[in-house]
Assembly symmetry: C2
Homo-oligomer: 201 residues x 2
């Protein structure tokens, strides 16, 4: 038997295309006996390094208008609910720190999905502690201590280091998938990334 | 019988993802009894209007590095040859004027494919008259008079007007597909655009 293969999922909680990938990811990977490594990072820090003060979808109006229509169509094709958030992009800092610090926790995938659903299905304020607390509870985690630990220097530093790793490895958008040094960008590339990591039987 | 349905293909000859779409387009559309309207435009003019002096793939190094690897993988998945052009993006002005002015000509689809192959399979200078002459000849067109007519004020104005129409209709990248007012962006959206225009039987 070969060792379990792994695909890294690099995500930012503000990215609607990462939502489309996050909700499908684990089921598709499991069908290929592929392990997912959940790697949260801050896309805003990467945009900032590229000289952008905001999401390119906000900076370029034609692209922004297109985005929401495209997401309606893509989510319909994938059979996923979708609601345009009333704030975009929402700040996923707290959720990203938690996801980074607890990447190995058994409740982590459920928490990630709960945060994405809060943002892109329920239009809830994922920047705030109340919604994140609900998402943790829904995933079966002990919300209070986890949220408190997210404010620790270690937790802040872990996410900072992971975002720097993303930049160092060539990541410039979300979602991104990495199979070793092979980078795939965008929900549109999920199938290609899966094929690369573990060809379908 | 319903009237023949149409999908507009908006393309720039410098775009490698438009190459991937252009070479597959007609066969996929024919299988659905869908007519293609070939609409050339100048993506550079749209980038310029967004404040970019060059292709975003040249402006953002991480995105540029990714581009060429992604194209290798995408072309392999689609079974298309691909060679990274030694000049990027190549100026498709002459070819775009010809494609715009002769959009209805029976040789036009073959000409468009020949120009894309020259750029992205053979690494030839599509900015120059010699290569465009060869592409016209390969498509069965009378190169001399067509190239001469491309320099006429009417030909220049036609492409300018078509590029303005692209901007007015919300196009911000290439390739784009339009089914009525429904815009699809990117080679990745070709299947969705076809499904929208003419659902598979």
């Amino acid at each position: 038997m070969s060792p379990a293969r792994e695909l890294e999922f690099w995500f930012d909680f503000g990215s609607p295309y990462a939502y489309l990938a996050a909700l499908r990811l684990e089921r598709l990977a499991a069908a290929r006996e592929l392990r997912i490594a959940w790697r949260s990072f801050l896309l805003g820090a990467i945009f900032h390094a590229q000289g952008w003060s905001d999401s390119p979808f906000n900076l370029y109006p034609a692209k922004g208008r297109y985005l929401w229509r495209d997401l309606e169509r893509c989510s319909a094709r994938l059979g996923l609910p979708f609601r345009r958030p009333s704030v975009f992009p929402r700040k996923g800092l707290l959720a990203a720190r938690i996801a980074c610090f607890h990447a190995q926790a058994p409740w982590l995938p459920d928490f990630v999905r709960a945060v994405y659903c809060a943002n892109f299905e329920q239009d809830l304020d994922i920047a705030g502690t109340p919604v994140i607390g609900l998402c943790l509870a829904a995933a079966g985690a002990d919300a209070g201590p986890i949220i408190e630990a997210a404010q620790s220097p270690e937790s802040k530093e872990a996410l900072r280091a992971q975002t720097e790793e993303a930049i160092r490895r060539g990541i410039f958008g979300a979602p991104s998938f990495m199979a070793g040094s092979e980078l795939f960008w965008g929900n549109d590339r999920l199938e290609a990334a899966l094929d690369w990591s573990a060809p379908a039987a």
